[in-house]
Amino acid sequence: MGQSDIALIRQHLIDPEICIRCNTCEATCPVGAITHDSRNYVVDAEKCNLCMACVPPCPTGSIDNWRSMPKARAWPIEDQLQWDSLPDELSPEELGVAVQSDTTVAGQGNAASESGHAVTGSDGTALADRTAGHASATTPGNWGSTLPPWSAAHPYTNLYGPRSTTRAVTATVAGNVRVTAAGREYDTHHIVLDFGATPFPVLEGQSIGIVPPGSDADGRPHHPRQYSISSPRNGERPGYNNLSLTVKRVLTDHEGRPVRGVASNFLCDLAVGDTVTVTGPFGASFLMPNHPRSHIVMICTGTGSAPMRAMTEWRRRQRSTGSFEGSKLMLFFGARSQEELPYFGPLQKLPHDFIDINLAFSRTPGQPRRHVQDVMRERAADLAPLLSNPDAFFYVCGLKAMEEGVMLALQEIARAAQLDWQATAESMKRDGRLHLETY
């Protein structure tokens, strides 16, 4: 679970203009989140667990309304009871600013955070919705684009989820291998899920939801955890209906306190032939460009490498066609040590004229700490022209903490190259050229 997701929720609301007060939702709600007075029926955001049980019975459709809201500012039921109509959706700017001021507060209670690139989206909200709220603590707005590159392939989203006809499907584990060096601390797995005949078309950069079996401490079914896929669109094994995930076993939270991640441990312990409940696909903006001579700059840490692996692999498979001659791939990849870096071995085998790989290790004994942003600064001469190149697309994925450093580094690189950072960042956002996915 990322801080951004804690700060930003999809609030469930009932449209008072369409509701006819039939009470079906209140009678259906298994957690008592819906109540009413003589005027309106309302949903308590504190109690609602987004189980969607109230949605099909509603005869009017008034129940199916959602607003992105900073959690701390979710509409209280007292306000909702006064409404004659639903409030407008907050603008991305309002959301961005609001998230910025609420992040610290919300983040403090974030004890049981789940990493391994698990992004909680319990209502199955598309990544695009959620990334709209990303904002760095030091930047005035949010820089991440909510639009895909112009040459992105069209994604399918929410085929399976709480608001779809079929809420979830089953996938079979076709492979589960460890992709970090042996050792207790860095246990990252490459997991292949096969969908058989079930339609599940995905694109690089999209994610899927995994529903861990069982229920949480309150007895509710676990909500789905989102994982970016790490395989390209035509399957982990080309031509097969499968995909792969990169999952880090979570044993501590962001502050280092011991916590067993529910979904990551479930996934890492799976055996071939086991089945998994899956929702998705999600995400409509963190997608790769597909036009000739388009360049991709990938900046990531840890399991944030999943979408980068997917994009790299798709370009690698296209390589023999010659379509992408003259296209640059640059990868900035950070980890504490070489042992922690997933796919370290296979990465080394990629030809240098295909991908420009820059690794940063922050805890190599006897070496100074190096973060991805340090290596980016070293490559400023190559990055600066790409910042202003309309055919270059930037992707950032990893822990929330890296985002600020990366954005600062990009800003410095732009300024050193006499670029107007504000204008550059705005155009990158507008043109779908800068994508952030941090957690």
Partner: protein
């Protein structure tokens, strides 16, 4: 004799496939039901593919399955809400005892009467509405009408299930009789008078589904409290469907009002004649229809003082609306309630034992609930910037049952003479002219996405379908 694939043809959660006695009973009844549907169900529509919601189980996912089906092939299922473990009777003289899973002998006749009266309204309303399809204002509305019809049919199934399962031979005979009575037929009419009135036009249909189906909701709510557990569980599930009927009514009227207000603003007039010439229903006419349906419906709750009501309550057969949410002793002995009567030409309140006034209690709950919707209609008018407001008439207006029967009272609650009544009745209730005008607007519109001139399109399609979705395939 037809053989039935029980779990497929009749979705149920009453273990029908293993209950031989019930199977035999239903095998007799089912062909007769289908024959009734073909005779008295929606006219000339049996071959259409209709986009219907079918319940296949009682969980939230299972009971809203959408798809195109022919109405005679609709899967009329039998569903009870999941049982509440160890449920106790929570009102009346048996309060605190275990709820009944079978019918106690001493309450058999009364329970059967309650179930039959409720069951009789279900096929009755299908019969009342059977010609409406010929004048539908859109495919969307036609689909909603058919949905209401098949669900009334399912509610009949639900009541017949109880009769067959728990009342033996008497129950089977009552089940047959439910298929034999006919709405409006002189020699074998439906039990309640409001269900023998015709539903001649779509404005009446929307008013009926708003006001009269809401009576159904309140009766079902009261039965959902019953000590007879199978009845409580059946009616609870029926309530989820009843909500759709009220939606059809409330949104239907709301759309008529919206269209009228748009025309008023466009033509800058509130003159009924000009508006009628423009092909929309003027607000005073809507008010008169409202007065009619409101007053006819509140009669359905029965006499304001009734010893039957007291017996039904004390013996635990029928509770009050939201009985479980009330904070009193739930036995009501020694408590009083104020009911209206007339003394010396004036309406006066008098105190009567609450147990005898339970019909009035339910009627007052109903009135509060239905006024809420009238206020929501007023918001549509207000939003259009028009000064007119709709009002529910006084409770004593145009009553034909109880101590207020036959007394002439204006919609504002003033007792008036017969002469005053005669002079004003056409301002208070729909006149022959009003009905003829509304009837003149009723022409069939069935092109996908098109709506008759007198009604606005809905805010949302059914199951979020697009505006021009083909809800009906006419084949």
């Amino acid at each position: 004799m037809s053989s039935i694939n029980y779990s497929d043809k009749i979705p149920n959660n009453v273990n029908l496939s293993e209950d031989r006695a019930l199977q035999r009973a239903l095998e007799q009844w089912q062909p007769n039901y289908l024959a009734w549907w073909n005779d008295m169900g929606p006219e000339g529509s049996q071959d259409f593919d209709v986009y219907l919601r079918t319940a296949v189980s009682v969980d939230p996912q299972g009971w809203a399955q959408f798809g195109h089906v022919k109405m005679p092939d609709y899967r009329w299922g039998i569903f009870l809400n999941p049982a509440e473990h160890d449920r106790k009777i929570h009102f009346g003289d048996h309060k605190g005892e275990a709820a009944w899973q079978d019918v106690p002998g001493e309450h058999r006749a009364n329970l059967r009467r309650i179930i039959v009266t409720q069951g009789d309204t279900e096929p009755a309303s299908v019969e009342q509405q059977r010609h409406l399809g010929l004048t539908c204002p859109s495919q969307y509305d036609l689909r909603n009408l058919f949905q209401v019809n098949v669900e009334e049919g399912r509610h009949l199934w639900a009541m017949v299930y109880l009769l067959h399962k728990y009342f033996g031979r008497d129950g089977r005979e009552e089940g047959e009789a439910l298929l034999e009575r006919r709405s409006g037929q002189q020699d074998n009419p439906r039990i309640l008078q409001a269900f023998n009135e015709p539903t001649p036009d779509w404005l009446s249909f929307f008013m009926f589904t708003y006001f009269t189906d809401r009576d159904g909701k309140f009766q079902l709510c009261a039965l959902a409290e019953s000590s007879f557990d199978p009845l409580a569980r059946t009616t609870k599930f029926m309530l989820t469907e009843e909500a759709h009927h009220m939606f059809v009514g409330e949104s239907g009227i709301s759309r008529v009002i919206q269209r009228t207000c748009a025309a008023m603003n466009q033509l800058r007039t509130d003159d009924p004649r000009t508006l009628r010439e423009a092909g929309v229903i003027d607000l005073p006419t809507i008010q008169r229809y409202l007065n009619f349906h409101f007053s006819v419906t509140i009669d359905l709750f029965g006499a304001d003082e009734s010893s039957n009501a007291a017996t039904f309550y004390s013996s635990g057969l029928k509770g009050r609306y939201e009985e479980g949410k009330r904070n009193d002793d739930h036995t009501l002995h020694g408590q009083t309630y104020r009911v209206l009567g007339v003394k010396e030409g004036k309406l006066v309140e008098r105190e009567v034992p609450m147990l005898n006034a339970l019909n009035e209690v339910l009627r007052d709950d109903y009135i509060r609930d239905s006024i809420g919707g009238v206020e929501r209609w007023n918001r549509v008018i207000e939003k259009a910037g028009i000064a007119f407001r709709l009002r529910a008439p006084h409770k004593a207006f145009h009553r034909n049952i109880g101590s207020l029967a036959g007394i002439r009272v204006s919609p504002e609650g003033q007792v008036v003479s017969q002469a005053e009544w005669n002079a004003n009745v056409d301002n208070w209730l729909p006149s022959t002219g009003d009905r003829a005008f509304v009837a003149s607007l009723m022409g069939r519109v069935v092109e996908p996405g098109r709506f008759a001139n007198w009604i606005a399109p809905p805010a949302l399609g059914i199951n979020r379908q697009a505006a021009d979705f083909e809800y009906i395939r006419f084949n």
